[in-house]
Amino acid sequence: MLRYALNRLVSLGLSLIVASLVIFLVVEVAPGDPASFMLGINAQPDTVAALQAELGLDVPKWQRYLTWVGGMLTGDFGTSYTYRTPVSEMVADRLWISLPLALYALALSTALAFPAALYAASRRGRPGDMAVMGATQLGIAVPNFWFAMLLVLLFAINLGWFSAGGFPGWDDPLAAMKALTLPAIALALPQAAILARVMRSALIDIMAEDFMRTARAKGLTRSQTLWRHGVRNALIPVLTIIGLQFSFLLAGAIIIEQVFFLPGLGRLIFQAISQRDLIVVESVVMLLVFAVILVTFLTDLAYAAVDPRLRRRA
């Protein structure tokens, strides 16, 4: 188990180094100087030069790369060009929205997908199964931002049960959760559809296995075998999907955050890109990469926990 974990850890480190290089190069190569963007079309060249110096943009690129990476290793993610506040503070503020939103959506999607998959798998080929499969097909086909708009139209504009968007802050946790509910549903449904389909086919595959027949032969009922032996063995593909989904939910909420004008991480990146706030783009993307890699790492460990064979193989 330890060797397996170490192995994964080394590949995690290598991925991070490669990612930092790629991010820096891609962001820096794109045209557009942050200083002239901020000063607009009436600015004089000497003013632009003064701002470049103030922002530390007048040093060579390799030097800026080293400062950036060096800073990140000590927990300093730099200072935003436009907002002039430390990136780490901004990210921390935004994470208080994006992280709960992602977790909320993940919980919703899992809560929806598990029963749906179990129900469909146990009724394979019958009308119940077909209804679930039809619904999930629709869930995958509908883009989440469009679904979000429908939710707003119904629950905010017509019924008036929810606000159309925005975030009141965590001072009132109930109001905060309420504000995250529509976005979480919009994010969760397509994910739930994917998860339900994957889990259903995993369960169906498992049910054809010899050990399932043995379990039945021992006298367990159909649902007992499904619960005790089926679900546990179907978890590997399901964990993979959940791991991928969490990263997706965290990083992929950009559009949903626009639709509900939530001040989350996605909106921060979106604004930073259009404002050429390079350091924010670089650091936030780097953090997201780190989060994705970390989740993958944890998923790998979770496999090993579920499936003892993996521990020995590595």
Partner: protein, 488 residues
């Protein structure tokens, strides 16, 4: 059952009654930071101008310049020395007094060598700022400047205090009718009534300015009445729906944004005035306004705002006539037409307008290759690099016809006659004389067909029907809330 419904309705309605001293207004863009004196972003002024910060002079709702922190002023005979008498009993929101020292600090900071003021040119004529006494400040110019009082009204010239300058970007301290309370980045800025304000106290106790960039979200927030008003409403296609709804009012005002199809005057083929004239005739302004702006916008024939009293309507110099356009192209030696680039920045007037213009130009034989650019790229490629044939952009600075006197400006119009005219205008202080010079200037660039002048950008505001006192026009990018109130 019916009674229960009524009670429920009353419960829903009561917050609306209670909110009569509060206002939540949305704008599309969030300011990058809160220092109006060190960035070009109009969003900073949209939040703070005349709310938190004030200058010596300021723009009134009709665009005229009125006294603000300067109560009165005297101009010397030769027009180079301005002596301002400052308003008494004015204090900054942190409690410190506003004095002549603050004016000196502000102006010296803006014109310093390491200044990062986006409109540093406004202060270039100042040769010294002298504190006569705490209530009097004397500003000496290197030469007379008829625009000086106008320049001081800009958001980039608001008075800031040395004591609070260090944290101004996140905690702005000004002299205005509202104090800054909180900025939840990505979401909103909150302002509170300044009970010590020198002028008439605002009727609102608190104001929240929310930032909603997505047009669909803007529609939803307004419809769900999460917000009371949206200034600069981003989806003109929804306006009829709001107009038809008794809960809302729609105010369509004007801006300082002259939207132009800019041509690269330095390069072939647009260095030929006949080609530029041909382009001007190939453009159907009304079709662009209808197609790209859903009918919102006023056609213009020169680089000047139609709501300005000095505006001259020159649209007759370039009526839509593809026949004339083709003839002019043939005269210029382009019987077969030519192809060029059309580079478009992100706003919808450019992206949607660009498609229509490309089709109109194709009618007369001009093929365009459309490239969509982000603002930062546009600034680098088009504005600084001058690597373009055609581009569409709205020039939103007030009274900016002076850019045509800068031969290094991106469209590269180099006419010594015009440059001289602008120099004379700057040195002239007599209002009648200035008006006639301004008219000459408008005519000169229109007759030279420097750019194709499309329309003045409209400024739609959607608001709760009970709101009064919102600015209709945008003489500068601002949403002054001191005069805003709820009617019964």
């Amino acid at each position: 059952m019916f009674r229960r419904t009524l009670t429920a309705l009353a419960l829903v309605a009561s917050p609306a009654l209670a909110q009569e001293t509060d206002l939540t207004i949305a704008i599309q863009l969030e300011p990058p930071h809160l220092d109006p004196t060190s960035a070009a972003a109009g969003a900073i002024d949209s939040v703070l101008y005349s709310n938190v910060f004030e200058g010596l002079t300021r723009f009134a709702a009709d665009g005229s310049v009125e006294p603000a922190l300067a109560e009165d002023w005297k101009i010397s005979e030769d027009g180079t020395t301005y002596t301002f008498t400052l308003r008494e009993g004015v204090s900054f929101h942190d409690g410190s007094d506003f004095t002549a020292e603050d004016v000196k600090f502000t102006l010296d900071r803006a014109r310093a060598e390491d200044s990062v003021n986006a409109q540093k040119a406004l202060f270039e004529g100042i040769s010294e700022v002298n504190v006569v006494d705490p209530q009097t400040v004397e500003i000496v110019l290197s030469q007379p400047d008829g625009n000086f009082l106008f320049n001081l009204a800009w958001g980039d010239a608001v008075i800031v205090a040395e004591e609070s300058i260090e944290n101004i970007k996140s905690n702005p301290v000004g002299t205005g009718p509202f104090t800054f309370s909180e900025w939840v980045q990505g979401d909103r800025v909150e302002l509170a009534r300044n009970s010590d304000y020198w002028g008439e106290a605002p009727s609102l106790e608190a104001a929240t300015i929310k930032f909603i960039s997505d047009p669909t979200a803007a529609f939803a927030a307004m419809m769900a009445q999460d917000i009371d008003a949206f200034a600069g409403y981003p989806a003109p296609e929804n306006l009829p729906q709001f107009e038809a709804d008794p809960r809302f009012q729609v105010i369509v005002g004007s801006t300082e944004g002259e939207t132009i199809l800019a041509m690269n005057n330095a390069e072939e083929p647009f260095n030929d005035p006949e080609v530029r004239e041909a382009v001007a005739h190939a453009i159907d302004r009304q079709a662009i306004i209808d197609g790209a702006m859903f009918g919102q916008g006023t056609p213009i024939g020169t680089h000047f705002a139609p709501h300005n009293p000095d505006y001259v309507n020159l649209t007759d110099l370039s009526p839509y006539d593809p026949e004339i356009a083709r003839q002019l192209l043939a005269d210029a030696g382009y019987e077969e037409g030519f192809s060029t680039t059309l580079k478009l920045p992100p706003p919808s007037y450019a992206r949607r307008g660009g498609e229509i213009i490309a089709a109109q130009l194709r009618e007369v034989g001009i093929e365009t290759e459309i490239t969509n650019l982000e603002w930062a790229q546009w600034l680098e490629e088009v504005f600084r690099g001058k690597d373009f044939g055609l581009t569409i952009v709205s020039h939103t600075e007030p009274f900016d016809i002076g850019i045509y006197a800068r031969p290094d400006y991106y469209f590269s119009y180099d006419n010594p006659e015009f440059q001289e005219l602008m120099a004379t205008l700057t040195a002239t202080t007599d209002p009648a004389e200035r008006s006639s010079l301004v008219a000459d200037a408008q005519r000169m660039i229109s007759e030279d067909y420097v750019n194709a002048y499309l329309f003045q950008l409209a400024y739609p505001t959607v608001a709760d029907a009970r709101l009064r006192g919102l600015w209709e026009n945008q003489p500068t990018q601002a949403n002054p809330l001191a005069g805003v109130s709820w009617s019964e």
